[in-house]
Amino acid sequence: MMTALRSRFRRFAGWLIAATLAAGTASAQQSREFTASALKAMGAPNAPKVEVAWNRYYDSQQLYEIMKRMERAYPNLVKVHSIGKSVKGKDLWAMTVSNRAKGDPDAKPAMYIDGNIHSNEVQGAEVSLYTVWYVTELYDEVEWIRLLLDEKTLYVVPTINPDARDHFIHNANNPHSPRSGLMPRDDDGDGLFDEDGYDDLDGDGNIVFMRIKDPNGRFIADPKDPRLMVRVDADEKGDYTLLGWEGIDNDGDGAVNEDNPGFYDPNRDWAWNWAPRYVQYGSDRYPFTFPENKAVRDFVLAHPNIAAAQTYHNNGGMILRGPGTQADEGTYARADVQTYDFIGRLGEEQLPGYKYMVLWRDLYTVYGGEIEWFYGGRGIVSFTNELWSEYDYFRRAKDSTRDVSQEDLYRFDRLLLFGEGIVPWRPYDHPQYGAVELGGVKKAWTRTAPSFMIEDMCHRNMAFTLFHLYHTPSLSIDTVIVKPAAGGMREVTAVVSNARVIPTRTAHDIKNRITRPDIVSLEGAEVLTGGVLENRWLGTKKEQRTAPGKLRIDSVPGMGSVAVRWLVAGNGPVTVTVDSKKGGRAVKRSP
């Protein structure tokens, strides 16, 4: 009954949005005129073509509507496309963002961004979406952004788990559920699938805790905030026993909530350092068991121009990189770690309270994680940000921590949310436990930023990723020098340079031949010999015996250069081109 009503309402709400969109052009124009005359605050457009309120969390359909509005407003910068379907058949909507007038987006060095692989970790979608909104709205106004979108490409998939995102938003959940996607799984080994999940006993849309009065309990209500349960000291008696999350034993097996929707961890499903479930909890059949992840994999394989990647999770205030296990340390080559360190430390400055960390060493061991695949499988520099941290509560000058203290959570709720985030304890007649009480944090509190802090979170994290994108390779041919040589031949020397920190191929990419070598080619004359100059000043050269007109080079290092030299026959100007999968192209003609 409850569900039917809610879904009818949702359909109505969808219609309402559509109607507003259709009739809204005139009023949007008025609103732009109204805001355009205000004093522009730095960091935001004064009169955006696309108005988006960055103070709530949108479901997958709403995210899609906003993407389409951006595409309509900036057709030359944004293209919305689906990269695949979810378990339940929803499209995985992506945006390709780049100035098409300045070249094919798929041929420019690119960054891939996604959010929400863990369905309850919703805000990654808003950060991703904000990123596209900001760069499109400020394209004309900020030169740095304009140059970035002229030279580079963003591929943004705000949610790669739309099924369970919508489940989190529209169904009763706690802050930690579902996390999984929605492919049914038999968690308790009884041959039944997802038959004993949480139950929203009081129908308030939140799965909170159950407590029962018990003279031998180990918990009491906190005298300072009776909504909070605290454990008594070893020599004290308590008043309550905590019975876990709201629910009943649906399948009569003596266990409560032991077979929830899912359960698997989509972030243990990737083909690097993958481990079966007896090693890695949440792992499933094999890498890319789930169609959402398979779609991302297919997209990345089809776009070898991706040189950087970012995924968004919550929470804890972390900028994470791989490896996920100590045993995989050897994969992260020294030169690549230096690149990671540079970008990671930049992020620590842009994101107060966030720490740049190595997964296995500073957080926990992970097999088969997404960003580890980006680097291990594809040689792409990749980070995960854990959005929202302990620091964000009271901004005390201390390090962020992984686990938010319950006291701060409740205190913040009291002082800044005026009690909105917590369900106070209230009696409930439980069909199996008898008289219990229900209470605790609401699903949209704990792991997600409150409304007034969302925009701050979006902007700072975006800034981090834009610098990451900025530091993908930017190639140019600095010089082409042609000199006469003996026997009527000419000597051509060219210097290819990379003006950014990320190399055209990471050390891991080179070692495993993930993308092909970069090619420096000469046209306009007959190439007799050619090679890379190992020392350009001494002129020591490593000859390439076959096809010297197309020199294969390992990489153009970050902030570095490669010099090449040919002996050629024939007169006239020559053209030198560098062509790199992850670094793009550059061309120069000799005078």
Binding site: W274, R277, Y278, F288, R297, T515, K581
Partner: protein, 554 residues
């Protein structure tokens, strides 16, 4: 001599004296399914890129029952395994209703048979020139140069086959084996040997990178594409684990069918003539890398059963299990998994026109020694069996890449070392069929015994029983338990309206139960009158049920 084997010989089986192409295989499995529809059904698990079907034959009276999965052609070069698998299906079907032991077996056990795991690759055997191929047709840039599938082999000497070429070169590392000059081996410099040749597979350097045939068409070997000990960036291991439609389809089939207790595959990963040994874990890796201690002796016993049934020995060394199907089926999918090559030239072939004694002498070489080199052994076997044109003499050829050097093309006929002559397939497959059937009769099997009712006063009773495994194999392997994929034995207490459970769970898991009499005791306290039913069910072991009246026993 075993009775089943004799009975099998008597079963009429359609004879095919040729290896079957995809089309011939399709018609064979369709014929079988239509002519024996009471006990055989046919499905396609996937379509390959070339549009071939990944066929699955289900042979058994009650398909949902506990089962054996048989997989042929795991390595596409092993064509014989496919033939043995088809013949096994045919023999099972023919035996149903005519041979009592087979009828009983098929009433209780299902045989899922996938004759050919890699149909696209196997088609290379029917193409020209004849060239061995283990990989799917998925395009793959093997040498990472940005060009895909640009440097495959060629038939330089136009003899219809891709073999080897040797190039006379003072820097070469190879020389003809002094004992068997038809076979090339590496020179041992420390023993004063000097190489004379460079050795390449037959073809030209199409992309001019000074490597020959390093990027042929396609590039994923399914037997390197599974998750166990997968080699990232390994040769032919694929872009990632389970990247191919075929590997995913068979993996999904196994995960979806918990009733498959045992997997048998024809593959070079031999754990039947050389059963796996448990090794205590070293280092801190959480991965299980050798057979679990508790499974070791069961595996060894099945290996013994194989040897006793087939009398086969002297198998070549087992292939590495990196990304292999058979290892995956045990270590990651948690099933009892057994694998062996379909054929190897080891023993003199029986019942040939030449007397066995003299054959044995011939195959053992001049000094009566067995050679360690499988190619040398193989060539001697073929000589002894009178099979010609396996060793192809080295013959001069013109080669565009080596205009100034002597180039000769020769070696061993493709596919010859892995596959027996087609006219012996019926005979050679027979012991394998027998073994597979015997394996089927060793699955776990549930029985409920010692059911007891004790009256505790008024209408309160304690009901107890033992759940017994009558089968040879445990209900789950230790690895199966570790894998956390497989369900143990579930016990249900069914109570009518007059009975209430006072303590104990209506449904509870027990086990796993060891082989040959392993048991678990279950008990409940109930109140009421009438009867209760106890059922035990395990996908890999079947079901058992008893009904117990609520009154004091005896």
């Amino acid at each position: 001599m075993n009775r089943l084997l004799i009975l099998l010989v008597l079963c009429s089986v359609p004879v095919s004296a040729q290896y079957r192409s995809a089309a011939a295989l399709a018609s064979a499995v369709k014929d079988l399914a239509s002519s024996r529809s009471t006990v055989v059904s046919l499905t396609s698990l996937a379509k390959t890129q070339q549009g071939n079907d990944l066929w699955l034959l289900t042979v058994g009276k009650r398909p949902e029952r506990k089962a054996v999965l048989v997989v042929g052609g795991v390595d596409a070069v092993d064509l014989a395994g496919t033939e043995y698998a088809v013949r096994t299906a045919q023999r099972l079907a023919a035996g149903y209703g005519t041979v009592d032991s087979i009828t009983a077996l098929l009433n209780d056990v299902t045989f899922y048979i996938i004759p050919r795991l890699n149909p696209d690759a196997a088609q290379a055997f029917f193409a020209s020139p004849l060239s061995e191929r283990s990989t799917t047709v998925t395009p793959f840039d093997d040498d990472g140069d940005g060009a895909v599938d640009e440097d495959g082999p060629e038939d330089i000497n136009k003899d219809g086959m891709v073999t080897m070429m040797r190039v006379r070169d003072e820097r070469g590392e190879w020389l003809p084996d002094p004992d068997e000059p038809r076979v090339m081996r590496k020179a041992d410099a420390a023993k004063g040997e000097r190489g004379m040749y460079r050795l390449y597979s037959e073809g030209v350097d199409n992309d001019k990178d000074e490597e020959w045939n390093e990027d042929p068409a396609g590039g994923t070997d399914l037997n390197r594409n599974f998750t166990y000990a997968y080699q990232y960036f390994g040769k032919n291991s694929g872009i990632n684990q389970m990247s191919e439609a075929e590997s995913r389809a068979v993996a999904d089939f196994l995960f979806d069918h918990q009733n498959i207790a045992v997997v048998f595959s024809f593959a070079p990963n031999d754990n039947l003539t050389a059963p796996w040994k448990h090794e205590p874990p070293r280092g801190e890796s959480p991965h299980v890398t050798s057979v679990m201690k508790d499974d070791e002796e069961y595996m060894a016993a099945v290996g013994k059963l194989f040897s006793e049934t087939t009398l086969l020995k002297d198998a070549p060394k087992s292939a590495k299990g990196e990304g292999a199907f058979s290892e995956w089926a045990y270590f990651h999918a948690g099933r009892w998994s057994f694998s062996v090559r379909s054929w190897w030239p080891a023993e003199p072939p029986k019942d040939t026109s030449v007397r066995a004694d003299s054959l044995r002498k011939k195959t053992e070489g001049k000094k009566g020694e067995k050679s360690d080199d499988p190619s040398v052994r193989a060539l001697r076997w073929f000589d002894a069996a009178g099979v010609k044109e396996v060793a192809l003499p080295w013959k001069k050829a013109e080669h565009p890449d080596f205009p100034d050097r002597d180039v000769e093309v020769g070696g061993v006929r493709p596919y010859a070392l892995q596959n027996p002559p087609a006219d012996s397939l019926d005979r050679f497959s027979l012991p394998y069929s027998t073994f597979i059937m015997r394996l089927g009769s060793r699955l776990p099997s549930l029985r409920i015994v010692n059911e007891k009712v004790e009256r505790l006063g008024r209408d309160l009773y304690r009901v107890s029983a033992d759940i017994l495994n009558d089968g040879f194999l445990p209900t789950l392997s230790a690895m199966g338990v570790r894998s956390r994929w497989l369900r143990s034995v579930l016990i249900d207490l069914e109570t009518g309206s007059g009975v209430r459970i006072v303590s104990g769970r209506q449904r509870q898991p027990v086990g796993p139960l060891k082989g040959n009499g392993g048991f678990a005791t279950v008990s409940w306290i109930v109140s009421g009158s009438g009867a209760v039913g106890i059922t035990a069910e395990c996908p890999s072991a079947g079901t058992a049920a008893v009904s117990v009246k609520l009154r004091t026993s005896k």
